[in-house]
Symmetry: C2
Subunit: 78 residues, 2 copies
Amino acid sequence: MTQKAIFYHAGCPVCVAAEDKITEVIDRNRFELEIVHLGDAPKRIDEAAANGVESVPALVIDGTALHINHGADLSALR
Amino acid sequence: MTQKAIFYHAGCPVCVAAEDKITEVIDRNRFELEIVHLGDAPKRIDEAAANGVESVPALVIDGTALHINHGADLSALR
């Protein structure tokens, strides 16, 4: 059974670099990875915040937010 | 052939939480993961810095440092 992982980003250079690495290292046999561009899907900003995301890029696994480097604060995307 | 990934941390609560998730998601078939506690191995702080690490916890892959959340600045460990 695969678990769900969500990578939230905003298309910034820091986000793209992190996305490259995360998509490279994550075990796709065990994790289903969804990539969400919050600039394109602003309605999902609240969902990201509810998942504990404070800045992007961030990876949410099992309800735990891992902030990976720092591109932009979530508040700057609203 | 496996690639090398190095997770640097300092035993802090933020580090431990990140370590749990990173060791869970990383594809061990493609990545050999080394975990380095910089408190126990202070001689490797310079190596971490050379890999672009500015704070812990951080994951270095292919020479790219991903800072995951924020536990402590590297300078605080010297």
